[in-house]
């Protein structure tokens, strides 16, 4: 199973919809996408992850990558699956990203 990535950027909001599996083999493509969408320094990054069935630590590294690239960036995870929530909890990422069930509007 691969990872399907769809991204859009408006004035200050970057959106990426993920579907499939985020592991060591697919993370590099997502990283490229994140790198691209952050070029315009948006205020927030919204990751739609409802269809993401698996996320390895490679996914966490992308969150770190985004934060390092732009420390003031607000990162939203929309509708993560409970197993992924669990991973975020365990690794301490839960407090660092905004978890939401409703996709936020553009800022």
């Amino acid at each position: 199973m691969a990872l399907d990535i769809k991204s859009t950027v408006d004035a200050n909001t970057a959106r990426i919809a993920l579907s499939g599996v985020l592991d060591g083999s697919t993370a590099s493509r997502l990283r490229e996408t994140v790198d691209k969408v952050l070029t315009g320094k948006p205020a927030q990054l919204i990751l739609q992850v409802e269809q993401l069935s698996f996320m390895a630590s490679a996914g966490l590294r992308i969150i770190i990558f985004a934060k390092q690239k732009q420390p003031n960036l607000k990162i939203y995870l929309v509708k993560p699956q409970p197993t992924i929530m669990d991973t975020l909890h365990k690794t301490g990422f839960f407090d660092e990203v905004y978890i939401t069930d409703v996709e936020p509007a553009s800022a």
């Binding site: 592991d23 083999s25 770190i64």
Partner: protein, 589 residues
């Protein structure tokens, strides 16, 4: 993407082998998912196992193969062992031990994401995802084993019992390990440190202190090791504080909250910055019932100490007592070795005080002198000496201090030195010399020791001997003309008793070839196994069997040989000294 279909065979699945690149991750997850489903794992457990295997497989591919510039396969095999599911992953890349890899610590967790170092997260997820993650590596392969327990650890039917059994097993294992660990250390100081470490670990506590009863002050405990406080010494009086009370009552003290207990002294906390919560204090008692010390364990992790903990620590203390006893014995042995070495040195010094090179005084053609001394211990209280007063006179002395061992040796050294100094300073009469030595010894004799002595001055031209007797054995003269003469005692008190004692002198005549034989009571009182004494008569008899023309050395050897035959297997119990002076007649020059 190529993946081999995983086929189920009984409880095991056929191994899946793939090239070690990132494309392997997906089929590996599929394989593990099938194994997890077959084993009946629920959704969450399955996901966690998938995550664990995925993280490790990623590490193997990225760090084990790609970054190391290596290529190879990665194999995975599932085994359902009934009560656990084991996923075994095999690779041939660079060894990468997940258990030694640094995990993000609490501080890292709390750090802002942008400051967080990358790495460790995957290992953390892998270890969290399974009950056990085992790893071993050989030259040919690295093996990771992911283990998930399938049966719940505690059955609701009998959970307490099962828990008790597994806890007992753990304790038994810990006890065996401690027993083994303490058994390997016989040096006292490292052992003390080891005990503290082992107890702290075994009791799942934060700190331990080991107190030993001070042998010199048996109402005090002293702690030579306190973890975290270095080697600072803490002293505690019996009956004071927690450890002191344990020592006095020999009872275990279990305190859930130290600061609420009046016996607790918060001073040590203030010094060390440590915050004591709970304390378990237990006496260490050896097999004979003697209190050796007290061990205090502080701050059981997660809770206070229970009654089970009390019993467990008491069991550990049995091992500690044994180990301490053994170490003390080894220590005592080593100390005795040091003492033996000191005694050997003392012996050399003492023997160095006496003339021991024979033939002695070769410039004196008128005499042939030999002497021997055999202390019972390393050092002894017998002495002899001889030295010329002037070109015509030889002074000699034999003596015996009333004790044996080191005290006697010290008194002997004093006597010998005092005698020589006195004789040389005022050589007019041996009686006066004896009186001066007596006064000196009386003035410096707090131990009320005494010395028997017989001293004389031989006129080398005439063979005339003037002698003084301080309670000593009468000497013999082995006459050149045949026969053995016992010299008359002139009477005199032993040295060191009465300060102003006068010493009468007697005189005797040595004819050329005559030998004057002086000895200490170690000769006359030499005892055989039947507790019979050698006696003066035996000396006389032995001497009479020695040839009249024998040299002084031969005479002494003959006497020693006679004693040896008489004594047989019996042990020597007194110092022995023999001095033989053979008068050869006036010299021609």
């Amino acid at each position: 993407m190529s993946s081999l279909p995983a086929r189920k065979t009984g409880t095991n699945m056929c191994a899946l082998t793939l090239p070690g690149n990132l494309d392997a991750l997906s089929p590996i997850r599929d394989y593990v998912k099938t194994a997890a489903n077959t084993a009946g794992l629920d959704h969450t457990a399955t996901y966690k196992l998938l995550l664990a295997v995925d993280e490790i497989a990623t590490n193997v591919v990225v760090h084990g193969y790609e970054e190391a510039g290596l290529q190879g396969d990665i194999s995975i095999a599932a085994k359902n062992e009934g009560n656990r599911l084991v996923i075994e992953m095999l690779d041939h890349g660079k060894s990468y031990d997940p258990n030694s890899h640094q995990m993000p610590d609490d501080q890292g967790m709390l750090q802002d994401l942008s400051e967080r170092p990358i790495g460790g997260l995957g290992i953390m997820l892998a270890k969290d995802g399974v009950d056990d993650l085992e790893y071993h590596s050989s030259e040919s392969e690295n093996v990771h084993r992911f283990i998930v327990h399938l049966t719940p650890p505690a059955k609701p039917a009998n959970p307490v019992w099962e828990q008790a059994v597994s806890d007992d097993q753990r304790k038994l294992k810990v006890l065996l390990r401690i027993s083994k660990s303490l058994g390997c250390e016989v040096r006292l100081d490292p052992l003390l440190q080891l005990i503290v470490e082992e107890v702290t670990t075994a009791m799942e506590a934060e700190r331990s202190t080991l107190f030993l009863v001070d042998r010199r002050k048996p109402d005090q405990l002293v702690s030579r090791v306190a973890e975290g406080l270095g080697s600072k010494e803490i002293r505690v009086l019996f009956g004071i504080g927690i450890a002191g009370t344990t020592a006095q009552t020999r009872q275990v003290i279990n305190i859930p909250d130290a600061y609420k207990d009046p016996r607790f002294n918060p001073a040590f906390d203030k010094l060390s910055g440590f915050r004591t919560r709970s304390i378990l204090s237990t006496p260490i008692i050896d097999q004979t019932g003697v209190l050796i010390g007290v061990v205090e364990v502080m701050n059981r992790k997660g809770r206070a100490f229970t009654e089970d903990d009390e019993q467990f620590l008491e069991a550990i203390c049995v091992d500690i007592a044994l180990a301490l006893k053994r170490a003390e014995m080894v220590d005592a042995y080593l100390q005795s070795q040091i003492l033996t070495t000191s005694l050997e040195l003392a012996r050399e010094i003492q023997m160095g005080l006496l003339p021991k090179d024979f033939p002695a005084l070769p410039e004196l053609k008128e005499v042939d002198i030999h002497a021997t001394i055999i202390p019972t211990f390393e050092v002894g209280g017998d002495l002899y000496d001889f030295f010329p007063l002037d070109k015509d006179r030889l002074c000699f002395v034999i003596g015996d201090v009333s004790d044996k061992g080191i005290p006697a040796a010290l008194f002997m050294a004093m006597t010998r030195t005092a005698f020589k100094m006195s004789a040389l300073a005022a050589p007019e009469s041996i009686g006066h010399t004896m009186a001066r030595v007596n006064r000196f010894l009386c003035d410096s004799n707090p131990q009320q020791m005494f010395v028997t002595a017989l001293a004389g001055i031989l006129d080398l031209k005439t063979g005339r001997v003037e002698y003084a007797d301080a309670g000593h054995e009468p000497p013999f003269i082995l006459q050149a003309a045949g026969g053995v003469l016992k010299v008359d005692k002139v009477g005199g008190l032993v040295l060191g008793f009465i300060r102003d004692e006068e010493f009468r002198t007697g005189s005797m005549q040595l004819n050329p070839g005559d030998t004057l034989v002086l000895y200490t009571d170690g000769v006359t009182e030499a005892m055989n196994v039947k507790h019979e004494l050698f006696g003066a008569d035996a000396i006389e008899k032995t001497l009479s069997l020695t040839g009249q023309t024998a040299a002084s050395q031969t005479i002494i050897q003959g006497l020693l040989e006679g004693m040896r035959v008489f004594v047989g297997e019996a042990e020597q119990h007194d110092d022995i000294a023999i001095l033989a002076i053979r008068y050869l007649g006036p010299s021609n020059n």
